[in-house]
Amino acid sequence: MSEAIAPALLAPGRTAGMNWRRLVPLLLVAPLVLFMLALYALPVLAMLSRSLLEPAPTLAHYAELAGDEVFHRIFTNTLWTTLVVTAGTLVLGYPVAMGLARARTLLPLLLIIVLLPFWTSVLVRSYAWMVLLGRHGLVNEALLAMGMLDRPLRILNTPLAVHIAMVHILLPYMILPIANALRQIDPSLARAAAGLGAGPWAVFRQVTLPLSMPGVMAGILLVFVLSLGFYITPALVGGPRDMTLSMLIAQRVEQLDWAYAATLSAVLLATALVIIAIFQRAFGVGTAFRMSAR
């Protein structure tokens, strides 16, 4: 049946036809919206409601958190880890993104190198880091063999191990949006800047970097939010003092302390939302994710 007949059958008249056209996008997203509502939003709400309704409607769980020393330490540690990992991925990822953006013939190879870890399970990569960073791991053995160490360093089960492993795992999330933003930049802009008297550093500072900011913001946001809730890696390579919010939640769930776990989850979710809101206000997440305008 042709497009023109369908609206005529449903509702005769020109304006009705226009409304039908406007409905099409809504109908297209409807299955996803229903799926998300039924299988994501409702369970999350049900879980969060436990923090307020168990055993009776109360704010006691939140009040308890506010005064909990252990929670404070873990929350601070989680934020700190997130900051360090975000900064680490940014510093290491930006140059790689620049290489990726400039690559021509090498591009497929570089993309595979960047994406390869992406396709490997986080669990496998975390175990790999345990093997590498352990007391008799590759890193220690190599340093000992080169005579740079007298006895093995303790890396595994320290914050350093958590930072190294998380930076490695989250790097693609930083690299890809930045590389994408850099690729969008018209190459004649850098030429124009150089022609107008800007040296290589000035070109980077005044042209390339500002124009890549949407990608940088997208990368920071992705890595920040992802590492905020990271669980497997800190649990495997971190020490007992490196507990993060997600580990604490898992611990409470194991103890069947559902109300406390739900309260912690609410705090984690709120923190992520606040950060997204800050980004939205300051830079506009819309611009951060406006990938291909050209």
């Binding site: 004649s188 030429r191 150089a194 022609g195 107008l196 008297g197 040296g199 290589p200 005044q206 124009l211």
Partner: protein, 363 residues
């Protein structure tokens, strides 16, 4: 802002650029005078843009030298050459305002903020966009953006301005008004312009001299009239304007002219070389310089004549365009200014065409 006589002289000496065995520029030597408006004209792939990019410092020559005011700049990076440059796609910085864009080269040169603002406003006035400083580039039309790019390229008072098809993305009307504006700017600033285009009309309108580029070499260099009236080779005759090419055989010389036999008639041609009798040559003649002998010449019709048959007649408005065939089967185009008083010819009729010796070039 009067800077008369402030232009740089540029000497290109056997300039070459090879890309993996392919020669994009193959030995270009041009001496560009101080304050000259020189155009590099050629089809795409002729090496004109590569030549410009080497002058700007974005490409490194494979061989040869570029000297600005007598000093070689080949070893100098682009940002230290102090050359203004305008790109085809404008290349305005999208994250900066119009004023910040124009102030960019001044900022790189450490010009103080207040002085910068003054020079930016001055440059905006020069390109007739006063008060546009606070706008974003994307809020401007293509023509306005190109004028901002122009202001940015001249605000730091370079002695040399390079332009890479700056009007290529604009529509015809805008292009014509900007062409006049460029000429005015060139006269006002007195600096040297090197302009790249594939549009021959643009080149003829604006340039002091045109270097026609073909396959990485300069096919001919000279003032517009000279290129049009006395093309030195077939490529230039065909690329600039339209030309009829007539196969002919040299019969002799006479008063500085070559006498050649063409489709059974003897014609005379201006010629710089000295071809031997019996040699096969090609004569070029512009379609608008041919006339029908009985088509109302003011004076006695000129010396070169051919009998032809009309094969096609098209009324174009301002003129009539005729395709003619000579006795030996060569096709000729004749353009006649249209007039209600002129009799229009139809396909199939025979006629005689004439044109002057000065308009007959041996190529």
């Amino acid at each position: 802002m009067t800077l008369a006589g402030r232009g740089a002289s540029v000497a290109l000496n056997s300039l070459e650029k090879r890309y993996e065995g392919f020669g994009a520029v193959r030995g270009v030597s041009i001496d560009i005078r101080s304050g000259e408006f020189l155009t590099l004209l050629g089809p795409s792939g002729s090496g004109k843009t590569t030549t410009l990019m080497m002058i700007a410092g974005f490409e490194t020559p494979s061989a040869g030298d570029i000297a600005i005011d007598g000093r070689s700049v080949v070893a100098l990076p682009a940002h230290r050459r102090n050359i203004g440059m305008v790109f085809q796609n404008y290349a305005l910085f999208p994250h900066l305002t119009v004023a910040e864009n124009i102030g960019f080269p001044l900022k790189q040169r450490g010009v103080a903020k207040a002085e910068r603002a003054r020079l930016v406003e001055e440059a905006l006035e020069l390109v007739r966009l006063p008060g546009y400083g606070t706008r974003q580039p994307r809020q401007l039309s293509g023509g306005q953006q190109q004028r901002v790019a122009l202001a940015r390229a001249i605000v730091f008072k370079p002695r040399l301005l390079l332009m890479d098809e700056p009007l290529g993305a604009l529509d015809k009307q805008l292009r014509e008004s900007l062409q006049l504006e460029m000429r005015r700017l060139h006269a006002d600033l007195g600096i040297t312009f090197i302009y790249v285009t594939h549009d021959q009309e643009e080149a003829l309108t604006m340039s002091d001299r045109i270097a026609v580029m073909h396959e990485g070499r300069v096919a001919q260099i000279g003032p517009p009239e000279e290129l049009y009236d006395r093309p030195e080779n077939r490529f230039v005759a065909a690329f600039i304007g339209e030309s009829n090419f007539l196969p002919a055989t040299v019969r002799g010389r006479e008063e500085g002219h070559v006498v050649a036999e063409c489709a059974g008639s003897l014609v005379r041609a201006t010629c710089t070389t000295n071809p031997a009798p019996g040699e096969s040559v090609t004569l070029a003649a512009r379609p608008e310089r041919l006339r029908f002998v009985d088509g109302g010449w003011p004076a006695p019709p000129p010396a070169n004549r051919l009998a032809v048959t009309v094969t096609e007649a098209v009324f174009v408005g301002e003129r009539c365009r005729y395709v003619l065939r000579t006795g030996d089967g060569t096709s000729l185009v004749l353009k006649e200014p249209s007039s209600a008083a002129t009799r229009r010819r139809v396909a199939g009729e025979t006629a005689e065409v004439a044109w002057s010796v000065a308009d007959t070039i041996l190529v």
